[in-house]
Amino acid sequence: MPEMTLVQAINDALRTEMRRDDRVVVLGEDVGKVGGVFRVTQGLYDEFGENRVIDTPLAEGGIIGAAIGMALYGMRPVPEIQFADFIYPAFDQIVSEAAKLRYRSGGEYTVPMVIRAPVGGGIRGGHYHSQSPESMFIHNAGLTVVCPSNPYDAKGLLLSAIRDDDPVLFFEPKRVYRAVKMDVPEGEYTVPIGKAKVIREGKHITLIAWGAMLFEAISSAEEVAAQGVDVEIVDLRTLWPLDIDTIVESVQKTGRVVIVHEAPKTCGFGAELVSLVTERCFLHLEAPPVRVTGWDTPFPYTLENEYLPLQHRITPALLETSRY
């Protein structure tokens, strides 16, 4: 089994599905000859040609609007938004059109489209290359939101997403694009959308994270283990639809929950997770749910590591919660 980075696994997923299904096309800014600014689509142009790996004009609203039209025609477009920070010109097409077409047409039309976009900080990209906008899309009915943390899940989830009949936002944690290599099967396999994964079992605290913050969560769990705190880590993998059963089962066991995300705290997805846990596990809770998140500021450049919810902030949150 070959070892792959996250970038290679996503590239392999695109290649695998494009070979299998000629309705799949990739389009976006710089996705063609150069293979994307992060090289995620590298080599696809050479294999599939300019009609399936399409460099578009520099207009996110046009990329997504046209991709919706392609999906309505019966194709399976996979548009790339170069950085999630640049997705807003396409916001109307995503939330008012792609997300609503099935509903508003009484089920006549569907938009099978996967919008890929790198998210998150950690690359010294400042405000416009670092944001995590997942909540804005989760809040809008009709969208599936995926954020894998590792190469294996990324490939399997992307194959599931492309085969899904509804629009999917596929957020790629660019901080870990090349951070780890892992065994990734060749050819087809899928990881189901809507299923979280318990990546570390523990008795004392449930730690919920996704994307790049998963690695910070693991380091923190190992750090507090030395002090006798046994942390269970849930990698959400799919943010919406949320795997509520896995969360409830874990929190009912541990009675404590810490949630980590890069996006600002207020109205971040952690707020929804805390509400759900409180509604469903109230009598099992031994401590108030805790959120370790980005601050309610724009994403800063120089003080990036002060903004991000890294190990230095997760570890004390785990210790305090365990002692509550």
């Binding site: 004009p57 025609y73 099935r102 508003r104 006549e108 039309y109 509804d166």
Partner: protein, 377 residues
């Protein structure tokens, strides 16, 4: 049906209108240089569709005033522009509407009953009562789903046409929009993508002079809307939008260009919105009645009728029969639609996704087991 007695047969012009394709001359004859030379039977069905659209329009406004439907957004005065263009597309082509084109939907074969059901948002509404009246959908008739945000259908139509081209299919997509929508970013991106990728998309600009209360002069400093095509490398034409044969001829040329692989065309159809923007609008607050009156005198229905009479294809008796038949048909549809119950409660939670996730299943149960509101409206 309210039609004026005078027919000047030419729409009022503005300076800088440039060349405008016209077919029907003031005496009702067709200009041989531009005449698409349709068989009389075809002209007749086009005229009948325009009259039917007018009758439905006027009756729906009445229903709204009576409080029997919530809203209507019509096409009074724009029938030639909407029907003439729709008729120029082929069976395999697709139309992406703005929200003023129910005439085109009926032309494409949507049963009147289904359209009226949409006006009532009842259980038989193809949109399942999820949208306001006149937000119809007609996939079986190759007709898109209406959304209220301005301009979004333009980029989608271009993407749709692009997909057809990539798949090697002989399919053209037409996108309707008002002149106000040319100010939106979607117009720019749609035209730009259409130009760069030579998509078989026909961009149908209904220049009806008003975007709610804002006149065309406030949408652009250009001498026309058609001129905008130049910057995108998209050929553009202008036609008299109150002349059904002129809109047919212009749009047919555009469809043929698209089908031949020559890419998109922007067609500016010069017409006028006789009514308010919708039943929620009172245009007396922002425009002079004499302007409306001038346009009333170029009524597109009278214009085509005169031509049909010249062709020997229409009589007063025909008119009366058509009127009676359409009114009776519409009356029956309204009666049926009014008696049809609202959509089932469960439908509120269906079609959000192909498969409802747990939160929608839970919320659906909560609604069904929960308290009921006093009334739906």
């Amino acid at each position: 049906m309210e039609t004026p007695h005078v027919n000047h047969a030419r729409s009022p012009r503005s300076p800088g209108d440039g060349e405008v394709l016209t077919v029907i001359r003031p005496d009702g004859t067709a200009d041989p240089a531009t005449d698409p030379a349709l068989p009389t039977e075809r002209v007749r069905s086009l005229y009948e569709a325009m009259v039917r659209t007018r009758i439905v329009d006027e009756q729906l406004v009445r229903l709204q005033r009576q409080g029997r439907i919530g809203f209507h957004i019509g096409s009074l005065g724009e029938e030639a522009c909407i029907l003439g263009s729709a008729a120029a597309f082929r069976e395999q082509d697709w139309l992406f509407p703005c929200y003023r084109e129910f005439g085109a939907l009926l032309w494409r074969g949507m049963p009147l009953q289904r359209y009226v059901d949409n006006m009532f948002g009842n259980a038989n509404d193809p949109a399942k009562g999820r949208q306001m009246p006149d937000h119809y959908t007609g996939r079986a008739f190759h007709f898109g789903s209406v959304s209220s945000p301005i301009g979004t259908q333009m980029t989608q139509a271009v993407g749709f046409a692009w997909a057809a081209k990539l798949r090697g299919d002989d399919v053209v997509a037409g996108a309707y929009f008002g002149e106000g929508a040319t100010s939106s970013s979607d117009f720019h991106t749609a035209m730009n993508f259409a130009g760069v990728f030579k998509t078989p998309a026909v961009m149908l600009c209904r220049n009806n002079r008003w975007a709610i209360s804002v006149p065309a002069e406030r949408q652009t400093a250009s001498t026309s809307f058609a001129v905008k095509g130049i910057a995108y490398g998209v050929p553009a034409m202008r036609c008299d939008g109150n002349d059904a044969l002129a809109t047919f001829a212009a749009v047919r040329q555009a469809v043929e260009r698209a089908a031949a692989g020559d890419g998109s065309t922007l067609v500016e159809m010069l017409t006028y919105r006789i009514s308010g923007h919708s039943t929620s609008d009172d245009p007396r607050a922002y425009r002079a009645e004499d302007e409306v009156e001038r346009w009333r005198q170029t009524d597109p229905l009278l214009r085509l009728r005169r031509h049909l009479e010249v062709l020997g294809g229409w009589s007063d008796a025909d008119q009366e029969r058509l009127q009676k038949r359409t009114e009776a048909e519409l009356r029956a549809c309204i009666e049926t639609a009014e008696k049809t119950p609202p959509p089932r409660l469960e439908t509120m939670f269906e079609d959000v996704f192909a498969h409802p996730p747990w939160n929608l299943v839970e919320q659906c149960e909560q609604v069904i087991d929960g308290p009921r509101p006093k009334a739906h409206h």
